[in-house]
Symmetry: D2
């Protein structure tokens, strides 16, 4: 049995919740939908992310870029009806835009290459002047509507994954740098205080980072932060229109990716730039069933625990299964990225985030499968997990904690997500995988999605609380050890032994 002993002389480490700063979302146009906003309200109430980042600001469904004919000449027409509604909704829910600048409006596109079911145009602008005007118009409108003091808090990231041929025509690096340069200058021309950054790459193309920063340095192009994405699934071993199956690499792979970019930045002409991981998840496919599983949560636990050591923010992709890259979702569970499934059913990964959200600001102990923290009121809050990527039953693991007691008497509150609890995907399979479940089926899934809750009372011994915690396969558990101020003596006449059956 593994033992975790927290010494009384431990110097606590600051443990800021960097995983909480940004959250990812499908394209912005979806933010007009009620179901999407219901999910976002759910997540914001429970967790409270600070920023939200999604694709498609300039995609034609948001409708910003249009043209009209005036006296025989075509002129740009900027329509902010929908983007205003979207940003208004975000701000009302307490989350600011982490702006991703892209994709290309059809009328400005230099080519017809598109991506996703919703046909994101991934070609460079046919006219960089018109593009710059569009960018300036958008930024100016934001400032007019929300005030400069607000908008300078929104980072602007230029494009998405330009190092992939599907996401940027030809994965053309030089063309991307040009786009970046024009866009960054356009933004800064409105106000120099808005932070801009890139290159938003995905996968192992580290030279893009190096070259990008060199380019900015050489060409004196503004750059306020560096971004990249991280997914740790291996190459798929089976792909069908509706499924994508992959093995997961070790969590270290992702952490190392964070770390390596940090090193590249430090070695660059801009060694102090912040690093934002603007997307991460296990798999990059929105039809990989892993996302619906408890294993996904157990896998990501370590990323939440350690990712903040290297990245200034990292943004889970995505909060909701309201998502259309592979068409309208075809079933209640379909391998979507969302923490929240259709019908507002929270998946295990949602609870992982909620559990980490309950941790304290001081870290007392951490290893690869647990992190122990202290809150300002003295409560010890710890998360432990038992990632098992092998098949089959069993794999229970016990950790024995010895922790300085916050009081002589403590109340212990434990919440558990595992294969048997808070696993609506399992329940859904038992129900026969109803694609379009009835209201009462969805109610059952929501009930099944609640973590197992166990509470107990314990006494400290010699200033320590000892706790043996057995973790089942892929369990993620949150344990809170709360100091007790016992008021029992104030109840005059109380005698539990006189109550029937007690």
């Amino acid at each position: 049995m593994k033992k975790v002993v927290v010494d009384q002389h431990t110097v606590p480490q600051a443990y800021p919740k960097k995983w909480k700063k940004v959250i990812g979302t499908g394209r912005l146009g979806l933010a007009l939908q009620k179901e999407y906003l219901d999910h976002l309200a759910f997540v914001q109430k429970a967790i409270g992310f600070q920023y939200i980042r999604g694709h498609g600001l300039l995609h034609d469904d948001v409708g910003i870029y249009r043209e009209i004919e005036v006296e025989g000449r075509r002129k740009p027409f900027y329509n902010f009806t929908y983007i205003d509604r979207i940003v208004d909704a975000y701000l009302e829910l307490g989350v600011r835009p982490f702006v991703e600048v892209g994709f290309m409006p059809k009328l400005l596109a230099s080519g017809g290459q598109t991506l996703f079911a919703w046909e994101a145009n991934v070609t460079p602008p046919k006219d960089y002047g018109q593009w710059a005007s569009l960018i300036k118009a958008v930024v100016s409108h934001f400032i007019e509507r929300y005030g400069e003091a607000e908008v300078v808090k929104w980072p602007f990231e230029i494009w998405n994954e330009p190092n992939l041929v599907d996401f940027w025509k030809g994965a053309d690096k030089e063309e991307y740098f040009k786009l970046y340069q024009v866009t960054a200058h356009a933004i800064k021309s409105v106000t120099p205080d808005i932070p801009v950054g890139g290159p938003a790459i995905c996968g192992g193309s580290d030279e893009w980072i190096v070259d990008f920063l060199q380019f900015c340095h050489r060409e004196r192009v503004p750059v306020d932060f560096v971004t990249r994405h991280a997914y740790t699934s291996r190459e798929p071993h089976k792909v069908t229109p509706d499924y994508y199956y992959q093995e997961l690499a070790e969590p270290e792979k992702m952490l190392n990716e964070f770390k390596s970019v940090r090193a590249l930045i430090e070695a660059s002409p801009f060694p102090a730039l912040p690093l934002h991981i603007t997307e991460y998840n296990t798999s990059y496919s929105p039809v990989n069933p892993i996302h619906d599983t408890v294993c996904n949560a157990a896998y990501l636990a370590r990323i939440l625990s350690e990712g903040g050591d290297y990245a200034d923010t990292y943004s889970y992709w995505t909060f909701s299964d309201v998502f259309e890259e592979r068409d309208v979702p075809r079933a209640q569970f379909h391998g979507g990225f969302g923490m929240i499934g259709l019908g507002s059913v929270p998946k295990p990964t949602f609870h992982l985030f909620a559990f980490f959200n309950a941790l304290g600001e001081e870290r007392l102990y951490r290893d690869r499968e647990t992190v122990v923290t202290r809150k300002s009121d003295g409560t010890i809050a710890l998360v432990a997990w038992n990632l098992v990527t092998e098949k089959g039953d069993g794999f229970d693991k016990t950790i024995s904690y010895v922790i300085p007691a916050p009081a002589d008497d403590v109340f212990i509150k434990r919440q558990t997500v595992d294969e048997q609890h808070a696993n609506p995907w399992k329940t859904w399979k038992e129900m026969g995988r109803p694609r379009f479940p009835s209201h009462s089926m969805v109610d059952t899934l929501r009930q099944a999605a609640q973590p197992l809750m166990r509470t107990a009372r314990a006494k400290s011994e010699a200033g320590f609380v000892t706790l043996d915690v057995t973790l089942t396969k892929n369990e993620v558990t949150l344990i809170e050890i709360v100091p007790v101020r016992d008021e029992t003596d104030s109840y005059v006449g109380l005698d539990d032994a006189l109550i029937t059956s007690y």
Copy 2:
């Protein structure tokens, strides 16, 4: 191991939810409060009682009866400001008044005897003419505001527990009959279609029923229903200002009480009158801790299961711990009657009602510890309980069910309340019994109040589903056996074995 076998040739019995027709509440004046209405909304959304009955319609806090001086003479003044607000709120929440006519406005009282912390006056009117005018004014106002078609659906019960000296001065039967006569005639003089009844007695004074019906027959006084109360706690073995400890009699005692009144009615000149049990619970004390326990739910299960065999309605006393008979509640848990504790924390008895609410309209089987039903969609819904009034651990009991399968494949959903689950009182004790818990403590109690949820898939064998159900001490469990239409084959490319760890 006990075996419950439901034959395929069983003729289902109709199983109407008579326990759901009426619910009790502390005095009506409390219905002005937001916390009260929050609890009622909670209960109505989950269960949906049809009527609500509470004390104090004419108590001075509702303020209906006042007097004013006009040209040197005192005249009655009827103020409906608050009662309108109260009844409006009830109707908005989908529940109608089951009117209890009482207690006595101070200005009409013949004496000063009062009851409860809120000082309900329990003396007869000093002037029966003024009393009759008051009753007519109230009924007329109800009809003017809500329409006659609505108001004739409200039963009017005259007074509360007149056979007890604390509740009616001298427990004077003849005086009660006079009050009943005057009141019934006053109501019927406004419209003969409003149902009136009594005598609302409590405890074993059966002769009141007999005499009351004889009186009505002899004096040709209208009577449309008969009411009494039923509590099965024995004499208290310890009483303090804040606690009242009693043993529970067998559930049969209560059922027999229902049954015996039914027999008295049948032997009376009005053999077909409906019987309304207008209050029941384990203990009649609002500071008996039994009400907070799982045992309370396990005890009452049989009453819910069988009470409707004898009573037309029976009304659990009460839905909420917003209650003041023994002063403002002095702690989060204090032995109050409520299904819902302060801060909207549901107690085990709430779930008992919710579980019975999930049963079907056809009863397939019933004994003293389980009832098996079928819903119109074929789902089998059963409740089982394991009442243990002895102290100590253990007492597990297993029931083996053999039930005609609603389909070859079934989905099994089980919800459990027991000493370890949905038992916020236990969690509260572990917390040190905080009297005035913080918001986060109340959140923990609400989480701890959720039933354990377990789901599974099963196959029928030879047309039957076999289910071994182990019940822990005082467990109450709801099991739903739902026919499955399996859609798995429609998922092209699906192969769970390719998902990491599955």
Copy 3:
């Protein structure tokens, strides 16, 4: 001065609110949006339409028809994720679908002709067998989810405006009849109790009605109702990408259109078929500023007053400016069809409907500019209007009403929409026509959108109330004459003359 005298011996006419049975909406896919649902909730709370009819059930954004490859063969795949969400939302808001079957999913289309900014495909199916399978799948799914008892209340109308070349390839009548035949049979094969109808034509193509009914008769094709549309704007005198200017024909033109179809039906082999006007408005263009004006309301008043004489239902096109046929709305006001403008700003036409909704079920008097009704509580409710299509100021008109008094004392409540009141379009122009108004501007528009409210007390004379009502240009007014039960004498000590300044 015109005089309207209602004789005491007038026999009241039944005056059912047929205009309230159905309401139109932009394509169903928009019903996923929060803003859309906010507007619908607003309208339902105030008015409560029974059915809603919109385009695009089968358009690709709702996503019902897809194909998947199974073992090398393409097979249809029916996705109900979005349509379930849409219909769920409608039913929750108390409004049922009046189903319009169309347009063509791209994968089933025989050609590429599309309509509207959202590219509705208007070509016949490339394979009528696959089309029939789709229809059966949709209807079967509706029944499975909502129950047959519910779905048989939904009328199914086949296609939209097939007599127009833009809406049905070639406006090919024979092809339409074929589509109708296949679709009607497909629906009826699932359950014969669902009502089906057509031909949903627009404009003066009366021979379509005649031929359609002949065809159904000859070919024994089921037909349960007849539908057509009605717009009374003349040919446009100016058209730009963002504006469409037309003169309005007399309201009689629309009423005559209703009447003439009724006559055609009566002369047909199905003389008793119901007539549903499934769309009507002044102009058929979603960028005609008339829709934002008070004149639009004054014009339509007569249609609401008299349309029900000829049609069984008639459906105003549309309830909301959330609408995309001409692109995302480009400004707060843009000539959209909606009763409710962006940001939930009600337009004058909304109040017209709200005013008619306040009328009674008995009609006492009607002419071309007023209708006088009585409610079940005796209240007289009348609407009057003063349609002025000429330019310039002036045009006040006074009507003197002499109406049997519901009581000696009456309370008069008058609400007014006119050029100066409840005219947010005027206020918006004063503000400089902000395209994307700030929140505080929208608040101002909502305030400006409230009707003028005036109240007074009057006495009847010789059993009549006399009321001189002056109507300003394009005013629509609702006047309620309510019987008063004066309680003043019950206020002992009251003396208004003792209040400062009174």
Copy 4:
């Protein structure tokens, strides 16, 4: 015609909204009620007061002070169940307690003298030690629940109107000083940072202020602020159980009262102490019809305009007609203090506050009937009023404003409360003064309670906007002159002249 000319060189004065810092309320126990909280939410959304002050913190209905018997001895028992719920609700609505310490719990009272229908005990404590313990317990509990950082923002005022024999036994000044001394020390013993003050007197007893401050100085008793009340009604000329009629003194009288206390403070040993007017209104009677009138608003306008010159805060008594000092309200309108009448009907005085809330932070001009301000976005916001205490019609008054234009084009938005508009009391009288109005009657009153809204467009001339404003009898008007950025030219193809009737 009066002329108000604002010079372009005017130096704007700071114009903080001191009237908005505190609002009064009936006894705290009423804050448990839903209707009360609905009104408070209404007011907070529209205006947003910072503090709320009401009677009865220690009254028995809140239930804080109780006693229990422990081993034969009575001990105090402090029950915070209700006060927690009340303060929680306040904080949730964004308003902090301005704590009034009083009245006397029955069990601590030295005598039986009570006040109000709810029987506030106004006698000194029978034991100052027990009183001090109670105060410490309450303050300590507040700190435990809400945190010290929060509670030190709550002023604690000792008792209410001790200079009146009805409010403090014998109006005994020495006894009050003793109470003050004990209470202030008790509070400060928990934390010295909580501000304490008094003497909360009412009426012209200026020597109380002088003596109180001398006493504090002499005895070294903490005092952090000075409080008094101000009502300007003259002696009543008629009093009945349900009515209280008085004439109003000139508004100067109240302002002079504010001013004179300020002078007394400045002449005292604590010249810098803040002055809080913890109650003010026209009449001090809760059954004076003046409170329901437009005249009440017109009268108080000057107090809102100028009161902040002398007082640090002044607290309108009260926000709501949910109030019981003279019994449960006996009719919809009954002369209650509330800005908001029963059923959430706003009275004219509510709008007065809403209008002043719309003013800017810079004052450009002020006289006895108008105040002109500028907001940070350049908007000119002015309020004007026409107080007429004489009877009869007429009394129109015109003011001609000449104000520096915030732009060449301005949008003018005017809202009006006068005898004809936003006067639900008038409408209610027309309805026959229904005591307990039906829901539809209350809807009508709410509609009638909306201010008249008028909008227009104007052009500046030579840098000034000229505006002739005619005020009817007792009108209070808010006029906002908003700079216009006209976007009309951006609408390509726009031609209003082509719209029918325009």
